[in-house]
């Protein structure tokens, strides 16, 4: 060990009176504790403060060119309307015939998963015919709602790119949302 032996050698050998030397050894335990605490702090903060990006692609908004419109089957389309008070309304198929379900964000994950399974069963697990989700954020929704719903799709592993449509909110949809007090 690298301790310095500074204690007065063999006691009173030789009868010489030596001045008592102070021990130069410092207890470093506390210092090491502190250093490791700070290391832990810096290690955790450097990796955790990294912001994360969620990539979003919106449909191209070219009014003149209608050729790149994609037709979807009603049976594989789930439309989620984002309303106020952190509520969503979702329905399968077309707005005219379907009756939307009003749910909170905690329940919608189950609904997405259930619908995903339903569509997969209907088409015999055809990878090309999976559930397509159309997200329609209305004026009542907050930005957080939008991020949350995109996150739910990510968790539910919806492979088809979600269509984010904030332009064409149908009258029937508005009526239902108003009726349920979420718009």
């Amino acid at each position: 060990m690298a301790e310095l032996d500074t204690s007065s050698g063999g006691g009173k050998k030789g009868g010489k009176v030596r001045t008592k030397k102070a021990n130069t050894k410092v207890d470093l335990t506390a210092m090491v504790d502190l250093a490791f605490l700070l290391i832990t702090f810096f290690m955790l903060t450097t990796s955790l403060s990294k912001p994360i990006a969620m990539d979003i692609a919106k449909p191209d908004k070219n009014e003149k060119d209608d050729t790149n419109r994609l037709e979807l089957r009603a049976s594989q389309t789930m439309t989620i309307l984002l309303g106020k008070n952190n509520k969503v309304a979702w329905y399968m198929g077309e707005a005219k015939t379907a009756t939307p379900t009003i749910e909170g964000f905690t329940e919608v994950r189950q609904s997405i998963l259930a619908n995903k399974k339903k569509v997969a069963d209907l088409y015999g697990n055809d990878p090309k015919k999976t559930l397509v989700v159309v997200i329609k954020p209305t004026s009542g929704a907050t930005y957080k709602n939008f991020v949350d719903i995109m996150d739910e799709l990510n968790i539910a592993q919806i492979t088809a790119a979600p269509a984010i449509d904030d332009e064409n909110i149908l009258d029937a949809e508005i009526a239902v949302m108003k009726q349920n007090g979420i718009l």
């Binding site: 060990m1 207890d27 250093a35 810096f42």
Partner: protein, 205 residues
């Protein structure tokens, strides 16, 4: 009978080497840690389970909160080049010192007319206090935000021959129509893909 003496060893360990190593590590982490840039716009970003980190270069950051928009482009050179283009477009003059100062300004939200005054304020605290940061105008009649984005895209393309990415930092409680208004501006420039910046969510299933 004399008892057999067990030689006692000292329990104290020499901490010097350990101390050296830990401080070396500490220094390393302090130096590599990037200080969190203070944001002039107070925003709480929503959380998500996504795990894609945001790149540091060739990216523009739009902060949306409380009905205001703040803008920032990454990179000093890009910032200065963008300012030059904006100055030419709006027929304003910026001195070389002002250009340099603008290069180190983080996110800003001032109309271009009062940008000169904003740059010349001594520090970030004074800038915040000045009340000049009213957000970048983004109306259809005075769409400076669209010009900032367009000019910085050109600057990034010229300087780095890279396509600029757009990221949006929105306040969690911001209403969707405000975000939509900004997204519409982006889509007018045929930017259909952008990143939403979120914080990591713990305990995601």
């Amino acid at each position: 009978m004399p008892r057999a003496k067990v030689q006692r060893k000292s329990t104290s360990i020499d901490m010097t080497a350990m101390c050296d190593v830990s401080f070396l590590l500490l220094t390393f982490f302090i130096l590599t840690a990037t200080a969190r840039q203070p944001d002039p716009l107070k925003i709480t970003i929503p959380s998500s389970t996504y795990k894609i980190p945001v790149p540091d270069v060739d990216i523009a950051k739009l902060s949306i909160g409380h009905g205001k928009v703040f803008y920032e482009v990454a990179g000093q050179d890009v910032k200065m080049a963008t300012l030059d283009k904006m100055a030419a477009q709006y027929k304003l003059e910026f001195t070389p010192t002002e250009r340099k100062r603008f290069g180190v300004i983080q996110s800003f939200g001032v109309p271009i007319q009062s940008l000169k005054q904003y740059i010349n304020l001594p520090d970030e605290a004074a800038r915040e206090k000045s009340g000049l940061a009213t957000g970048i105008p983004a109306d259809s009649t005075n769409n400076q935000l669209a010009d900032w984005i367009l000019n910085s895209r050109q600057a990034v393309a010229e300087l780095h021959s890279e396509a600029m990415r757009i990221s949006i930092r929105g306040d969690a409680e911001e209403e969707y129509p405000t975000v939509k208004k900004i997204v519409d501006i982006l889509q007018k420039q045929k930017i259909n893909k952008f990143s939403l910046i979120t914080s990591a969510e713990g305990g995601a299933q």
